[in-house]
Symmetry: C2
Subunit: 197 residues, 2 copies
Amino acid sequence: MLTVYGDIRSGNCLKVKWLLDWQGMDYRWIEVDIMSGGSRTPEFLALNPAGQAPTVVLADGRPLAQSNAILLHLAQTSPLIPSDAYDRARMLEWLFWEQYSHEPYVAVARFQRLYLGKTAGEVEARVMEREDAALNRLEAGLADRDWLAGEAFSLADIALVAYSRMAADGGFDLSGRPRLRAWIARVEAALGLDPYD
Amino acid sequence: MLTVYGDIRSGNCLKVKWLLDWQGMDYRWIEVDIMSGGSRTPEFLALNPAGQAPTVVLADGRPLAQSNAILLHLAQTSPLIPSDAYDRARMLEWLFWEQYSHEPYVAVARFQRLYLGKTAGEVEARVMEREDAALNRLEAGLADRDWLAGEAFSLADIALVAYSRMAADGGFDLSGRPRLRAWIARVEAALGLDPYD
């Protein structure tokens, strides 16, 4: 059986849980408390030398890390990966963009506000500006579509919703972004999740 | 014919060039000077609202961004993507790790040293420490293998070598990392590149 080492408060870890639940796959979840160093123990580093959660151990005992690589592996025969080559490429574009231009800002702002107790003004201005731009790009990217890549619900929606729905935790206001809010509700419904807030 | 909008000094853009050359594909290269705002013009933003180079325009006129997503699309029928599912997943893990834990540090240090003229001590300590850890992880990851994913040269080697070979530009010393240096030479030879320095 697949084992997931994940912190249930982390959007990156939740992505993996949601996909497994959506696909009805059996798995064992081992909670890793990132805040108290759970992803830096010798045991964890033996599984993933990068010390990052989530890390999964496949049924044959081999480890795999990086949330979006895990999604692509676990969904490889699923309709969550578009069959059209261009739609699939755009899905990949969103997955890489998420880790480069979205998660590093929203997750940092959320962490500092929620877990370090910083006030809005104490989060680095650059982090706030870049995430604001990322949220604007998502709003624009949803102008003429229900789902991010192609015509159907895909891994891009699962990966991008993880931190988008938590944006308020980082001090971001989605009220002026109606398409983004409607898309978040749509993805939550597709995944069978209760609204985040 | 494929068109690449890229800055020839950027490792992310060079990845795409190297793959196209290795595959013997015809393409048109349009130089974008990122430093002088070439990726923020209205024309460029119409192709890629994220304002990031490289961006390619496929033969049918549709755009695609994110260097590693472009590699995966252009190499989709190539031996550069392992046929074994686990090797393929590990290749993807390296591609996402590259954009999250390697490029954001080495590219920033290189940019500040090479283009802003900062001295070693002026680059943020956090950037130097994280890239040092990334280079250590690469050295360890090459302990028992010639290539990063599976038994053969793959997209992981192309993506990871781009900034690894430029690490000295950012002030990083590879002399204590013999496996990393040997792998850089191996990838350069596979791509038909002259040594970087």
